[in-house]
């Protein structure tokens, strides 16, 4: 089942180059719809709220025993919700490109499908190296999509995107390998703690080379000293923070988003950025909870910089797409802030944020793409007042902007509120104070939440400012007559689009709008679905908070090497 989720897009990608040119899009759409149907069946067809839900779906096969690798796929409600998001955006991305992409269509749909397979793989992988393989492999299709189908500055954008993410993740690989080494050489399987762990869940492999996610998390969170965890977390952070992106390493994002074709932007915003937050949530925090706690204040600060700084940058943009791109930096700041609150509200809100941001920002990019297809510009100076010309489009645009702003009743509000609430509660101020209830202790707190709260206001400012310019006000259209549009050359073959949205375009946007509304009014089912995954993260952090990972058992065999190493570690 899980394997099929990856294989269906992959096989479709293999078929696409053979299809006749006219029906390539249809073939791709069919493949993604089948994948979506399967994902929907898996997501809706079972109760995900139990702690062991989805365990029966796990797939495991020996892979490279010399390296301790197992081909292991698994899922829980949290992963499944993101897989469902990926599967949902699949057909939408295909369908939105029917008129936008007219050249080298086979390559385009082929890579788009490969990208979907790789992203699904990331969420399902339960072996660290398998995770890494999928994580890295998403770079190739995205690189091709941006550099072949993007706008003017596409090559630089693609290279910058690739290099930033690749550099970060290579360092993350060092962290992963270190954790595996630690499990193999510094954890004694005969240790009582280890024995208890293995007794509790017999799948764990402790004291041997493995890259199994659960085993490494059990070993590292229990046995690794806080200082070492700090370093390993830093290594993983290098990989994931670039992807999220957190502030100092976010500069690839506006460029890549702006230059990518519409579907590329949708996938980037919708899913690829979530690989970073998902990595932090599922891999990094579980692996080194103590390290994550130590890093929480710094990351909180970076998030604030992102929320406020990127928000202010948004305000001065004149390129609509760039504005939405920068708004992603700010939004993901909220998402990570909630995550590092390490309490129910925060983490829950963070996971919801991943889904909601994927829906609303993805839809905004779709809307902007539709404008670009018609006017070949995204500059606010050239277009304005489009509500008069395109009422249906304007309705959707306003709707998704409101979802993005966080209007109560739409999905953005729920997650943003939960993230802020989580950050607010996560201060040690509350834990000691007798008059407060609901304080969970932590490294953030009310001040952080207050500053982040201004981010909501800034978001309202720049998004409404954009709406006021583009949708309302006096009608401004770029001067384009037949001669002008013919001079584009490549646009010659394009079918002329009507002024307002076609049925296909409405069909692309409508499901997203419905979901935005449903998740805004009644997010309970989704919250129940992701709850076990959220609880797992919180339990890991609570475990690190209460218990000192003091015992560091030393294997009998390397009595000679261990003391030297221990002193080195202590010296760090």
């Amino acid at each position: 089942m899980l394997l099929a989720l990856i294989l269906i897009p992959l096989l479709t990608a293999a078929v696409v180059p053979l299809a006749p040119k006219r029906s390539v899009g249809q073939v791709a759409l069919l493949g993604t719809l089948v994948a979506l149907a399967l994902a929907a069946y898996l997501t809706l067809g079972r109760d995900w709220s139990g702690p062991d839900a989805g365990r029966d779906l796990a797939v495991s096969a020996p892979w490279m025993p010399e390296l301790g690798l197992v081909f292991k796929l698994g899922t829980d409600g949290l992963s499944m919700s993101l897989v469902a998001l990926t599967a949902l955006l699949g057909p939408i991305c295909v369908a939105c490109s029917f008129t936008a992409v007219t050249q080298r269509v086979r390559t385009y749909y082929g890579w788009l499908l490969v990208l979907q397979a790789a992203m699904t793989g990331v969420f399902l992988a339960r072996d660290m190296i398998l995770f890494y393989v999928f994580f890295e492999f998403t770079l190739v299709p995205m690189f091709v999509l941006i550099s072949l189908y993007g706008s003017t500055n596409r090559k630089a954008a693609a290279v910058k995107f690739f290099l930033y993410t690749f550099t970060g993740s290579v360092i993350a690989l060092a962290g992963i390998v270190y954790a595996a080494w630690f499990n193999a050489n510094r954890v004694d399987a005969a240790d009582p703690v280890a024995k208890a762990l293995v007794a509790a869940s017999p799948d764990l492999v402790l004291g041997r080379w493995t890259f199994d996610l659960a085993s490494l998390q059990a070993a590292a969170s229990r046995f690794m000293s806080a200082e070492t965890q700090w370093w390993v977390f830093l290594a993983l952070l290098c990989g994931f923070a670039v992807k999220v992106p957190l502030v100092p390493v976010h500069t690839w994002l506006p460029l890549a988003h702006t230059e990518a074709p519409t579907a590329g932007s949708v996938v980037l915003a919708g899913v690829l950025l979530k690989l970073g937050t998902y990595g932090l949530l599922k891999i990094a925090i579980g692996l080194c909870p103590a390290g994550a706690m130590a890093w929480a204040p710094t990351i909180g600060l970076l998030c604030l910089l992102g929320i406020v700084g990127a928000g202010l940058i948004c305000w001065v943009q004149t390129d609509v797409k760039k504005l939405v791109a920068y708004s992603s930096v700010a939004h993901l700041g909220f998402c990570v802030l909630g995550l590092f609150a390490f309490n129910d509200a925060g983490v829950q809100g963070s996971v919801l944020y991943m889904i909601n941001h994927g829906l609303s920002t993805g839809a905004l990019f779709l809307c902007i793409g539709m404008i670009y297809e018609r006017y070949h510009t995204r500059s606010m100076r050239e277009i304005g007042g489009l509500a008069a010309r395109m009422p249906i489009w304007a309705t959707f645009m306003v709707f998704f902007t409101m979802a993005s702003v966080g209007l109560p009743g739409l999905n953005g509000f729920v997650s943003e509120f939960l993230c802020l609430l989580g950050a607010f509660q996560a201060g040690d101020v509350w834990r000691s104070h007798p008059l407060t209830v609901g304080g969970t202790g932590g490294n953030l707190g009310p001040y952080v939440a207050a500053i982040a709260g201004t981010g909501m206001i800034i978001a309202a400012m720049y998004l409404l400012y954009m709406l006021g310019h583009v949708v309302f006000g006096p009608l401004r259209e770029p001067h384009h007559d037949e001669h002008h549009s013919a001079s584009g050359g490549a646009h010659d073959a394009e079918p002329r689009l009507p002024a307002d949205l076609t049925a296909r375009e409405i069909g692309v946007l409508a499901p997203l709008a419905v979901l935005c509304l449903v998740l805004g009014v009644y997010p309970k089912p989704l919250m129940r679905m992701v709850d076990p995954g959220v609880k797992e993260v919180i339990a890991a952090v609570e475990g690190a908070r209460t218990q000192r990972p003091a015992t560091r058992p030393v294997a009998e065999g390397d009595a000679g090497a261990a003391p030297a190493l221990a002193t080195q570690e202590a010296a760090r």
């Binding site: 490279m64 025993p65 010399e66 390296l67 301790g68 190296i129 890494y132 393989v133 890295e136 492999f137 770079l139 190739v140 690189f143 091709v144 550099s147 072949l148 090559k155 693609a158 290279v159 690739f162 290099l163 690749f166 550099t167 290579v170 360092i171 690989l173 060092a174 390998v177 270190y178 595996a180 080494w181 193999a184 050489n185 080379w209 065999g557 390397d558 000679g560 090497a561 030297a564 190493l565 080195q568």
Partner: protein
């Protein structure tokens, strides 16, 4: 002596084949002369099979290295033979192949090229099995000397001559340095035998005794360091790397592909043998699975860091694909040195902790991937204005290759993305053991440098890949066409298949065997004192 010859059947076969090729090459008819290349290929296949079945385990610290090394050299050698089709005298041969001119035995090359090709491979095989300093020196020189001539005759142009002369002089310098190192090593230990059965004096056991006692003799240590630095020439590592881009560019692409693998393989076998003799003892013999003795460890570490950083940094600014690949081959040597620094780990270490196995697997992967890239370059030629053909070299010659020649284009893309180390291709599975073994030996800083270098490398590999895959072919660019040697494309395809399949097919098991390490027992202290053995030991060893 007899049992030593018994282990040398693969080399004997290659040597005999080289002699036969020389005779065949004197034939006045073209058809017979063309048999030289198939003969060489067949000899390599036979030698590979023979190596697989007859090479016994040696008594050194790396007992399975000869088996791995010889089979690897023979295996990649077959692909190299395909790649080198049509070399030398490319223009003349391609003119004949196109039917533009008839065959003239006087003008045509005789078979020296193919004989030298086999001699060089023989040398590389001998390196893998060496257990004596003299043998090692001769084997290294047997690997290198034919390559000077191969470079010189690879094209008819003056720049090949220039490249060969440059290569020869710097090669002679390198040889002088490691020969001096070998001499000092002999002076410091009193024997030329690298490994010997337990209880007999050999460099390995004497150095082990010294390490266990007062520390390695300063003379011997100087010898080790100089030998290493001299061999750096063969692997194109940093202080001795200057020749690489010029020589690769001057030689034909096919010969450059040969240079990027065979001398490098021989060099790494030598480094592993020397390091095995020095022992990964660490600061004290108690330190199981430790590092090379200081300062050798420090020097290899610095050379590794410099090599990968310099190679990658300079590759970024190249516009010639051959120079870019030359610098990248420098960088890859740096990666492999990481495995040498990491060492084989404690006894019975798993594959993940065994740096030697990682080096061997990397060597194999690198050989396959690099061959693909050079095969694509060798399969293309650029038409000059005056009608003469030249090899494709500029990055822009590769524009839109995937569209115009899909097989060559995708081979190139797979090769360079593999060299980049992107999962799930072969390069990643080669780099992963380097990561794990270096972390196992606590070289975390080195791992970070390795990782960052991979990221720098991504920049220029991406450029090559995207030129071929993403750029549209220039409409006026009909001057680039395929060269008339399908064998080269076959070599490229074989390596492309390897890049995809070898990742799934666990050859790392084989590398693990090849990297098996056993400690050398220290010679008893009384025998280990160098002055006592200088007179008696040396003649006995001969």
């Amino acid at each position: 002596m007899i049992e030593k010859i018994g282990a040398l059947w693969p080399e004997i076969i290659l040597f005999a084949a080289a002699c036969i090729v020389m005779v065949v090459g004197l034939s006045p008819t073209a058809a017979v002369r063309r048999l030289c290349a198939p003969l060489a290929g067949a000899a390599l296949i036979v030698a590979g099979i023979v190596a697989w079945f007859t090479t016994p385990a040696a008594h050194g610290p790396l007992p399975m290295l000869p088996l791995f090394g010889k089979t690897l050299v023979a295996g990649v050698g077959v692909l190299l033979a395909l790649l080198l089709a049509g070399t030398p005298d490319r223009e003349y041969e391609s003119a004949i192949a196109r039917g533009a001119t008839g065959y003239d035995p006087i003008r045509a090359n005789r078979a020296e090229f193919w004989a030298f090709f086999l001699f060089s491979l023989t040398g590389a095989m001998l390196c893998a099995g060496a257990d004596d300093l003299i043998w090692l020196f001769l084997a290294l020189e047997l690997t290198s000397l034919p390559t000077y001539i191969m470079v010189a005759v690879s094209t008819g142009r003056n720049r090949s001559m220039e490249a060969a002369v440059k290569y020869f002089f710097l090669g002679a310098l390198g040889a002088a340095v490691f020969l001096y190192g070998f001499t000092l090593l002999y002076g410091g230990t009193g024997t030329t035998r690298l490994f010997a059965p337990a209880g007999e004096p050999s460099i390995a056991s004497i150095l082990a005794a010294q390490a266990a006692g007062p520390g390695i003799n300063a003379v011997a240590m100087t010898g080790l360091v100089l030998s290493f630095l001299g061999v750096c020439f063969k692997i194109a590592a940093v202080p001795m790397h200057f020749y690489t881009p010029d020589v690769y560019q001057g030689a034909s692409s096919a010969v450059a592909g040969f240079l990027a693998f065979v001398p490098k393989a021989a060099g790494f076998f030598t480094i592993l043998i020397l390091a095995g003799a020095a022992g990964w003892w660490g600061s004290s013999p108690v330190d199981a699975g430790g590092s090379l003795p200081q300062p050798l460890h420090q020097i290899v570490l610095i050379v590794a860091i410099l090599t990968m950083s310099v190679g990658n940094a300079l590759a970024v600014v190249q516009s010639s694909a051959k120079r870019m690949l030359a610098y990248s081959s420098i960088a890859h040597s740096g990666y492999m040195l990481v495995g040498v620094v990491a060492g084989p780990g404690p006894a019975n270490a798993p594959y993940t902790s065994n740096g030697v196995a990682a080096v061997l697997f990397y060597l194999l992967s690198y050989g396959v991937m690099n061959l693909g890239a050079f095969a694509v370059l060798a399969s293309l030629e650029r038409r000059r204005a005056d009608g003469s053909a030249d090899e494709a070299d500029d990055v822009n010659d590769l524009k839109g290759l995937c569209a115009t020649r899909p097989l060559l284009g995708w081979t190139l893309v797979l090769s360079v993305v593999g060299l980049l180390g992107l999962p799930p291709l072969l390069g990643f599975w080669a780099k992963l053991p380097l990561f794990t073994s270096a972390i196992s030996s606590n070289e975390i800083g080195l791992v970070i440098v390795l990782g960052l270098n991979s990221a720098v490398a991504a920049y220029y590999y991406l450029r090559l890949a995207s030129v071929a895959l993403l750029e549209s072919p220039e409409l006026t660019n009909d001057t680039v066409r395929s060269s008339p040697f399908p064998a080269r494309a076959v070599a490229g395809l074989a390596s492309a298949v390897g890049i995809v399949l070898l990742a799934a097919w666990p050859l790392n098991q084989w590398a693990m065997q090849g990297g098996r390490y056993q400690r050398v027992e220290p010679l008893k202290a009384a025998e280990g004192t160098p002055p006592a053995r200088v007179d008696a030991g040396a003649p006995a060893a001969r």
